[in-house]
């Protein structure tokens, strides 16, 4: 089992040695059982760090902010930043390295193995507990979670409230790291694309109706895009104006920016936004599930991305984020690539 003290010790020592500028990890939300991202700069702050099944965030997303910050500073501190990653999160780092968005030397990776469990899914938790009463959730022995409520402690099998993505996960141990905490445990909780089965078996019309209903709920807060470690484009097709304006960008260039997606939250625009995003994540999404977690109106976005992941896997034998040295799925072709997708 991963010991929180080991995480703190590691963080303390790299801060002490000045190896990193700061560390992105997890700390407790003062008013809620969930964790929140922590930005640890000083050694004494490492005491705030926690490691429990509420550490759902993919902190790799914050590497983008660091990059932006550095670009703005005149004399930036070039030391790497430390980031605590789970198995899935570590694959996001690999994708960013593969796409040359970040450099390996700019990040110090503190890998933490999920071992036999993973993180919680609030929707599942709510079905079993009154959220208001929950004080804390901890890892128990084997694959159990210990839930502390006002009434005391309850132990439940992790699988009951485990995030669907964790149940389908094949990478419970980080695939890239500078230091690894916890043990490499082989596990196979479930079929990798289990959640798609139900969805794939329905008719095209039912699928259409399903997505129409779901995507019509979208309020276009772009939380899915904002939280995604892969959505780092300077210029996103979903934005109405060109954001990548440089001093030498001409008025014509700005004027000619095509508005693919209008801001109106109507079916056509919502479909365009979500489908374009799903396609842009094909072969890149590492299924950290953050987009679905943050959606305020509960759109099951994972289905879209998972389907793309399955296609990549079955058609091209490709899994995103396993090897930063190999070419990315869509920037590479082989003579014997399947052509089935061409209608």
């Amino acid at each position: 089992m991963v010991k929180l003290d080991d995480i703190k010790k590691e963080c303390k020592s790299i801060l002490e040695e000045g190896k990193v500028k700061y560390i992105v990890g997890y700390k407790r939300n003062n008013n809620y059982y969930m964790s929140i991202p922590a930005f640890i700069e000083k050694i004494e702050e490492t005491d705030q760090l926690i490691w429990d099944p509420t550490c759902v965030y993919n902190l790799v997303r914050f590497l983008r902010d660091e990059k932006l910050r550095k670009e703005r500073q005149k004399t930036p501190d070039t030391r790497p930043i430390g980031v605590i990653v789970k198995g899935c999160d570590s694959r996001a780092i690999n994708v960013l390295l593969q796409e040359k968005f970040i450099k390996r030397e700019n990040v110090y990776i503190i890998g933490v193995a999920c071992e036999k469990s993973g993180v919680i899914e609030k929707k599942k938790l709510r079905k079993k507990f009154n959220e208001k009463n929950i004080k804390q959730i901890e890892f128990g022995k084997d694959n159990n979670f210990i839930i502390t409520t006002e009434k005391g402690k309850t132990t439940i099998s992790a699988e009951e409230i485990l995030a669907e993505r964790c149940i389908e996960c094949n990478n419970n141990t980080p695939v890239i790291y500078d230091v690894l905490l916890g043990e490499k445990v082989e596990r196979s909780l479930s079929e990798h694309f289990r959640s798609l089965e139900k969805f794939e078996s329905i008719s095209t019309e039912e699928k259409w109706n399903f997505w129409k209903k779901e995507l019509d709920k979208c309020i276009r807060c772009y939380a899915c895009r904002s939280v995604c470690p892969m959505c780092y484009c300077d210029e996103c097709i979903a934005d109405s104006i060109s954001l990548a304006v440089k001093p030498d960008t001409t008025a014509e260039e700005k004027a000619q920016k095509i508005r693919w997606v209008e801001k109106s939250p109507v079916s056509s625009e919502n479909f365009s936004y979500h489908l374009i995003r799903a396609l842009h994540l094909a072969g890149r999404c590492i299924d950290c599930g953050e987009c679905e977690r943050v959606c305020p109106v509960d759109i099951p976005l994972r289905y879209l991305n998972k389907k793309m992941e399955k296609e990549a896997s079955e058609q091209f034998g490709y899994t995103a984020g396993l090897d930063p040295e190999k070419p990315a799925l869509v920037s590479d072709f082989k003579d014997d690539d399947p052509q089935d997708f061409i209608i």
Binding site: S35, P37, R72, K132, Y222, L243, V245, E262
Partner: protein, 346 residues
């Protein structure tokens, strides 16, 4: 006017209101939202809180302002599109959301009057429901001048008394709505009035979150404008639009032309919700952005709510509904941010 309505008679009252469009909280999956209700008898007034406040009924996320048509550059036809005149009632509004609508009214009707909001507001009757139990653990209405049974902005306030509702009219419109079905209502007895007072007082005590010295914080904000405070507090912000879209008083919008056909030109000028957290909100066409980073955008959100609006309208632009806290994907907590402002030393 103070009346008692038996819960059994609630749907009969709604049925009598068949000349109105009725909006109420509706549950879909796990998400509650204000929707146009086809069968008013199905309304359940026992709900936690909607994700999107009732502002969406009076200030919809998408509003067509005008339609345009043109067969040549020399000739253009404009058609004003204004909301149709249909009297409506919104049921089950929480006090925080109602005071939010009152604040929105100040914004949209003050100075240049916004016809789209006014038209809707003028024909909508707002029926509130007091919160006997805080609908969210993040509620903090009492810190920002509200209360779980405030009548601010409402036409009628209802309080759940167990088997019956205590129904108080606040405005003439509200009174008319009760009178239209007066046979269903009874006069309250003295002991019920006392019971009501007790319920209200207790409901206030159940609110756990509190902002200390809000006035001091409000006037301290400009002092810390230029400090590192905002960089630190915004570190985990991902710049999404949840806090603002789910806010009962955030009213910022964008206007864009949506072209249906380029020749002959045909399209609509559309207003949509927009928010101060998005990069294109303030970016000039030159690429210069006066609020270029998350620190300046979190600062704008807090300053607007707790300082700028206070300066212009002598009140806070926050109703304490707690939505921005509950729904923030990274746990940014406005009550905590304000507490940190309070104790911050340069």
């Amino acid at each position: 006017m103070q009346m008692i309505l038996s819960k059994m008679n609630f749907s009969s009252w709604l049925k009598k209101l068949n000349s109105y469009r009725i909006f109420a909280p509706v549950k879909s999956g796990e998400v509650w939202s204000y929707e146009l209700v086809e069968k008013p008898e199905n309304i359940i007034l026992d709900y936690p809180n909607t994700i999107i406040p009732p502002k969406k009924v009076l200030f919809p996320q998408r509003e067509v302002l005008l339609e345009f048509e043109s067969s040549s550059e020399q000739e253009i036809k404009l058609k004003e599109v204004i909301p149709e005149e249909t009297p409506s009632v919104i049921f089950g509004i929480r006090s925080c959301d109602a005071s939010g609508l009152a604040k929105l009214e100040k914004i949209f009707k003050g100075g240049f009057e916004d016809l789209y909001f006014s038209k809707r507001k003028n024909q909508t009757i707002l029926v509130g429901l007091a919160c006997n139990i805080p609908p969210s653990p993040d509620c903090f209405c009492t810190s920002v001048g509200g209360s779980p049974y405030s009548k601010d902005g409402l036409d009628i306030l209802m309080t759940d008394m167990g088997d019956e509702y205590y129904v108080e009219s606040v405005t003439e419109e509200g009174e008319k709505l009760i009178e239209s079905a007066i046979g269903l209502f009874n006069d309250p007895e003295e002991n019920v009035k006392k019971e009501l007072e007790k319920i209200h007082l207790e409901s206030e005590k159940k609110i756990k979150r509190y902002i200390k010295d809000i006035d001091k914080i409000s006037s301290k904000l400009p002092e810390i404008f230029e400090t590192e405070f905002w960089d630190k507090e915004s570190l985990s912000c991902i710049l999404c639009g949840i806090c603002t879209y789910s806010c009962p008083v955030c009213h910022c919008f964008d206007i864009n032309d949506e072209v249906i056909c380029t020749f002959p030109l045909k399209g609509k000028r559309v207003r949509t919700w927009d928010n101060c957290q998005f990069p294109d909100f303030t970016m000039h066409s030159s690429g210069h952005n006066p609020r270029p980073d998350k620190a300046s955008r979190l600062r704008q959100r807090i300053m607007h709510k707790f300082n700028y609006f206070n300066e212009n309208c002598m009140e806070l632009l926050c109703t304490g509904c707690g939505r921005c806290i509950s729904k923030c994907p990274v746990g940014i907590d406005i009550v905590e941010v304000l507490e940190k402002v309070r104790v911050y030393e340069k």
